[in-house]
Structure formats: C-alpha cells, structure tokens
C-alpha cells in the first residue's frame, strides 16, 4: 500500500514538474498572472471609493442674502459637497447636470430669507444627477442631515430673537459610532472582497484553460497512455495553480494591509486555512469546466460566464441584503458568496472558526460536489 502511494506521489511530482516548467517558460503569461492581481488591487483600492466627498455642486442662490449664503456654505463646507460654479437661473441647472460638470444643484428660492423669518418656513431644492444611483443616494442622505441641522439652528436663532432662550433647555447629541470600520473607509470593505474575486479568477479560469489546452493539442491522449492515473493527472495539473493562487493571495494581503492599511481583525492562519478550502472548490469548478469545454476558447468563455453571477451575486460589490428576496435566495447557489462572507468577517469582525462554520459547510459541500463531478466526468472523457 505504502509503496503504491509512493509511486503515485512520484508520478504526481513528475507531472507537476512538467507543468511548472511549462508555466515558467511562458514568461509573458507568468508576469501577467502575477502582476494582474496586484494591479487590480491597487486600482481597486484607489478607485472603489464610495466614501463620497467633494461632490461637484452648483449653487443657484436666487435670494442672495446673508442667510442664503450661510445655507450654501453649510453645504460647501461640509466636505461632502464642493463648489463647481454658480448660476443665476435654475433653468441652467439642465446644462450643468446634462454635461456632467456638476452632480448636484442647490437651489435656494428668491424668498428664502423672508420665508425663514416668516410664518410658513422655506423649502430649498437639491437636484441630484441620479444616473449613478449609488452616489445620488449618499448625496441625498448628506443633504438631509445638513438641512436638518440648519433647521435646528434657525429655529433656536428665531426663538432667541423673540426672547426665548432654548439653547440650554434641550439638546440631544447624536453620538454615532461605526463598528468594524470606524472611519467608514471603503477599502476596508473592498479589499477583502477583491481578494476573493481574484483568487477565483486565478484558480478557476486558469486551471480550466490549462486542462483544455492539453486536450486541444492532443497531448491528453499522450498522457493517457502513460502510467499516470487520471486523478493523479488532475491533482498534478491543479497543484501549480494552487501555488499561484496562494502567491496572489500573499501579494494582495500584503498590499491591502501595508499599503492601504486595511486592518486585519482576525487570524491570518485561519484566513489561509479557509482560503485553502475555497481554492479546492474553485479548482474543482475549473476542472469541471475543462471536462465540458472542447477548446480553450470555450473554456475561457464558460469560465467567464460563470464569473459574472459569482461577481454580481456574491455581495462582493453590492450587499446581498439590498437585493430583492427572490434574488437573495439565488445567492445561496453562488460559492463565492460564502467565501466573501468568510473573508470579510475574519478581516472586519475578527470572526473565529466557531462563527464561520455555517459559511464553511456550504462552501465545502460545493467543493466536494464540484470535485466529485469533475473527476467522474474526467474519467469518462479519458476513456
């Protein structure tokens, strides 16, 4: 028994060696495979900035009084909105928003100062370019907080004027604490997600294609007449990509933690261990794809086809909680979902194995099914 194992391990080692040589020889490919994730992480880290600040804002102040200027300043000095220009006619708002030179137009009506001193109160308008729903939503919530604060100040000032000193009588301070991500930095949310997606690409796509290449070139038949058994072949083909996956992971973690300063609340060891399980799953999927695809092109297209739902439904960019209920159920069918959850929880909440097993079990089940199916199909294809 032991001798058989040794032989088997020897054969696997030989094929791994061949694979590694093949990969090392294609320098361009190697550089791309190693550099792409790094570039992706860097770009993502800088770009995925939904900490919306300095939204270009045009002020249309029709009142032109101290009060109206004060209100405009509340917007422009909040850090959320920055001045992109001034207009004197609200109809010009079209031009600014249509051309994309401003995202927000603040319209202060001509009777603003009279209205805030009068009986009815004033209404101001904030026009937001909502073609990017995400930014528009955030701008809207900022605006509502600014106006609510202005309302309180104006109210207190008016009371003061009529001789009622209310300043000291009532004050509720909202003490906001954001847990897990106190500065609300989007890198902290995005980098862990990015890690998952890159790992999936590196392992699933590349394995799928590498297996099919052998088929396409006819070298699969050559391999089938060698003493290498089919499971040994699969294992040997897959191992180098496990290596590449882990190397990518180390690069991304390094960049994320040291360059972008994403805090890792949980254990690095646990992160690697659970990533091993994910890599197992995604390699299984890659091999499965390779048994279905006849050409590399097909393998690539299928892998890509599979990537799309994985990216959209994993909660990597858009939170699952914000999806309609029916689609939330569909997300349970997406393996990446569980891994994204695991990585984010380890990163942000410092979760341990005890809190993660409910994500781990479905992930492992996916992996076992994928690898099982893949090896069944692979054997058939070989015969």
């Amino acid at each position: 028994m032991e001798a058989a194992w040794k032989e088997s391990a020897g054969r696997v080692r030989q094929v791994v060696k061949k694979e590694v040589i093949q990969i090392l020889r294609d320098r361009k490919f190697l550089v791309l495979v190693l550099v792409t994730p790094v570039l992706q992480t860097v770009i993502f880290g800088y770009v995925a900035n939904v900490d919306v600040t300095d939204i270009p804002t045009v002020v249309c102040d029709l009142d032109r009084t101290n009060q109206s200027r004060e209100l405009a300043d509340r917007f422009l000095q909040s850090g959320f909105f920055s001045a992109a220009g001034r207009i004197d006619d609200p109809r010009e708002a079209d031009r600014w928003l249509d051309g994309g030179k401003a995202k927000v137009v603040l319209v202060i009506p001509p009777d603003y100062s009279r209205a805030v001193a009068g009986k009815k109160g004033a209404a101001i308008q904030v026009l937001t370019d909502a073609t990017n729903s995400n930014v528009a939503g955030i701008a809207g919530s900022y605006a509502s907080a600014i106006v609510a604060a202005a309302n309180v100040d104006l109210l207190l000032a008016r009371l003061h004027k009529i001789g009622i000193r209310a300043q000291e009588t009532v004050l509720v301070e909202p003490e906001v604490r954001v847990w897990y991500n106190p500065e609300l930095k989007s890198v902290n949310f995005m980098v862990p997600g990015m890690l998952c997606v890159i790992l999936l690409t590196a392992t699933m796509n590349l394995t799928g294609i590498s297996m099919v290449r052998e088929k396409e070139r006819g070298t699969a038949e050559q391999l089938s007449v060698t003493p290498v058994r089919s499971w040994e072949l699969v294992l040997a083909k897959v191992l180098p990509f496990v290596g590449i996956g882990f190397i990518n992971m180390v690069f991304i973690l390094f960049l994320g933690i040291f360059w972008f300063g994403v805090p890792l609340a949980g254990s690095l060891g646990l992160l690697f261990a659970l990533s091993g399980i994910f890599i197992f799953t995604s390699l299984g999927l890659g091999v499965l794809i390779s048994t279905v695809a006849a050409t590399q092109q097909q393998a690539m297209m299928m892998a890509q086809f599979f990537m799309v739902p994985n990216m959209l439904l994993s909660g990597f960019m858009f939170p699952i909680a914000n999806m309609p209920v029916a689609i939330q159920y569909v997300t349970y069918l997406v393996p990446l979902r569980y891994y994204v959850e695991i990585v984010r929880r380890i990163f942000m909440k410092g979760a341990g194995l005890g809190e993660l097993w409910n994500q781990l079990v479905p992930l492992a089940v996916f992996g076992i099914v994928a690898v099982g199916l893949a090896s069944l199909r692979f054997r058939k294809v070989q015969k």
């Binding site: 294609d26 994309g100 904030v126 026009l127 528009a136 207190l156 009371l159 009622i164 004050l171 847990w179």
Partner: protein, 379 residues
C-alpha cells in the same frame, strides 16, 4: 481587397460561432442574466434597515425618538437588545445593521432640560449602507431636537408665531427619480458586453489561429493580410452591435426603460466604441502568443478599465489625480458618459461631441498602430 473572399471568411467565422454553444452563453444569455439580476434590483438607498433598540431609560422620550426612526421608513424594528454583547451578536448574525442606545438618564435629563446623548451604533462592514444610515440618522435626531423645542414651549403655553421646520429639503433625483438600479446598470451592461465582444473575442479568434498554427496557412493562401483581418473581425462587430440592440430592447420590454435620446446617436457611439475595442483586441493579439496570455491581457486592458475606471460603478470624481488622468485614455469612460447622456438624460451631440472626438481619436490611433504591426507580419 476582394470582397468575395472576405465574405467567405465571414461565413466561415459565423459557422464556427454558431457551432459553439459557449458563444451563445456569453453573447445572449449573460447580458440577460446581468439585466435580470440588476433589473429586479439592487437598492442604492436604504429602506427598512433592521434596527435594534437598547433602551436603558425606558422613558416616553426614548420611545418617542425610537418611534421617529421607525416612522422615517429608513429603519425598521429588529427588536430590543440589552447590552453591547447582544448588539454585537445581532450585528454579527446580520440581523441588525443599526442600534440605538439610550442611556439610563436620557428621559430624566431631557425632562430637566439638560444636555443628553443618544448612541447610534452602525455596522460599518458594508460602508455604503452605513454611510447612508449615518446621514439619515443624524437628520432624524436633529429633527427630533427641533420638535422637542417646540413641544417644550407649547407646554409652557408659548405658541410659536411660525411653523417648524423653518427650512425643509426637497430632494429631487434627476434622470432616475426612484434611484432604480436598472437605469444605472443598463449603460454599464452595454459597455461590459461590448468590451468583451470587441476585445476578448477578437483577440481569442486571432490568437487561436496563431496557436493552432493556422495563421501561417493564411499567409500562404491568396488572402491578403487585410482581407484576413477584416473577415475575422466583421462578424464580431456585427455581433457586438446586435448585442447592443438586444440589451436596449430587453431594457425597454422587460423593464420599461426607454432611450431618452436618439437611437441613431446611440448606434453611432456603439460603432465608435466597437472600433476602439477591436483595435485593442488586435493589439492584444499582436503581442500574445498563447490564448491564456491573451485572455489575461485582454481582461487587464478592457474588462478591468471598463468596469472600474469608466465611472460605471465608482464615480471618477473621487479618484486620486493620477488615476483620474488615466481615465482620459479609457474608451469605456467616454462611452459610459455618452450612454448615460443619450439613454437617461436624452442629450445630443451638442453636449456629447467631446466624447465622440476622443473615441474617434483613440480608435483611429489604435487601429492604425496595430494594423501597421500586422501588415508587417503578414506582408
């Protein structure tokens, strides 16, 4: 250039495409899946965010403020909690995203007219939702404060000679009043699909010939280099345009999103964009020797910029300066701007001419460089 030869080649390419089910998956089914997932919605505004209350004061004031949160429509009740541990547990399980903590003397301090505070704890692990929640929560507390002042005065028998709020906000969302994700995603899906078609497919089909060694056969055939490239590329240009029309039609028939501007202009921009992506695809295929490499490179130069650097998801306004500068070289950026302009804002060339100029320049220079490279090789 003999058009008959090119015609035959195009026919051959279409036969290959038709035989391959994986093409159909990507060309027709993927855009539909993307549309359906996004069409039925990802919300970008918060609604009924689950909120737990830890009320140590058990006073009418604390209940009133908690009620204001729930009545706003932004937050919904996820029950009561008693302690930070429990709040953390509820956050961890995802059962709550926000927690209100009223200190024991919240009610009594307010009654005595002293300064007090309410703690608002937010699960920041999804920072987008958290940002929205913080904005709305602050607004609600401020409004409550104003209400308290008025109430207090009313108790003392003082009736205010004016109405509260003194100033109110009318938030108007242009082009997409309900912040629907379908309107946000439609232009994005078009850009992504056309990038895939244009660059990836072009690169794949040409590098495929190279890898199989059929490239040299072509060189030996009476086909000229230009004829060969044209024949290989035209099917994908056609497919890319068909795809665009398909997505627009699906957007209209499934989700009732009409094209606000001119369809002809939309078509014109799509043609320009396809030309640019083809140029990129040719460039990729001219420098890659393996399909695997071509795929990775194509991903790097098209999909990545068209998703991340185009302003499709992440606003370019927020980018650091060097990245902002790079986006000017990204065809996806101009195409997204044009699509949003035509699709949602209904604007015309008088506003979008810079986008048209930049796209044409990018396309012309890319196609020029790569065709030159190929001509040398195939001559």
């Amino acid at each position: 250039m003999k058009f008959q030869r090119i015609g035959t080649l195009i026919k051959k390419e279409f036969v290959t495409i038709r035989r391959d089910f994986s093409f159909a998956l990507n060309i027709f089914i993927m855009p539909l899946i993307m549309l359906v997932i996004y069409g039925y919605g990802i919300r970008f505004d918060i609604q009924y965010l689950p909120t737990v209350v830890w009320d140590l004061s058990q006073s009418p004031q604390s209940r009133e403020l908690a009620e204001k949160f729930l009545a706003s429509g932004y937050f919904s009740s996820a029950g009561a909690a008693s302690g930070y541990d429990e709040i953390e547990e509820r956050f961890d399980k995802g059962e709550a995203k926000l927690a209100l903590v009223f200190p024991a003397d919240f009610g009594s301090e307010l009654a005595r007219g002293e300064k007090t505070a309410v703690q608002i704890l937010v699960d920041g692990s999804d920072n987008n939702t958290a940002t929205l929640a913080v904005g709305y929560a602050r607004g609600i507390v401020q409004n409550y404060q104003a209400d308290l002042v008025v109430e207090k005065l009313a108790q003392k028998g003082i009736r205010l000679p004016f109405e509260v709020p003194v100033v109110s906000l009318e938030n108007r969302m242009w082009y997409n009043p309900e912040l629907k994700s379908i309107r946000f995603i439609l232009p994005g899906v078009i850009v992504v699909i056309m990038s895939v078609m244009g660059t990836m497919m072009t690169a794949m089909t040409i590098v495929g010939e190279k890898e199989r060694g059929t490239f040299e056969q072509v060189a030996a055939s009476p086909l000229s280099g230009m004829e060969f490239l044209t024949g290989k590329i035209v099917p994908y240009i056609l497919l890319a345009l068909v795809d665009m029309v398909l997505i627009v039609a699906a957007g209209y028939f499934l989700f009732r999103v009409p094209v606000a501007g001119s369809f002809a202009l939309l078509f014109f921009f799509s043609l320009l964009f396809v030309a640019v992506t083809m140029g990129l695809g040719l460039w990729v295929s001219s420098i890659s020797s393996s399909l695997q490499g071509a795929m990775t490179l194509a991903f790097l130069v098209t999909l990545l910029p068209s998703i991340l650097l185009s302003g499709f998801i992440f606003p370019i306004d927020n980018f650091p300066a060097p990245l902002k500068a790079i986006t000017y070289l990204n065809p996806g950026r101009y195409f997204i701007e044009a699509l949003r302009g035509i699709y949602l804002k209904g604007v015309g060339l008088s506003i979008l001419w810079p986008q048209a100029v930049f796209l044409s320049l990018l396309g012309a220079s890319l196609l020029g460089i790569t065709l030159f490279r190929f001509k040398k090789r195939l001559a």
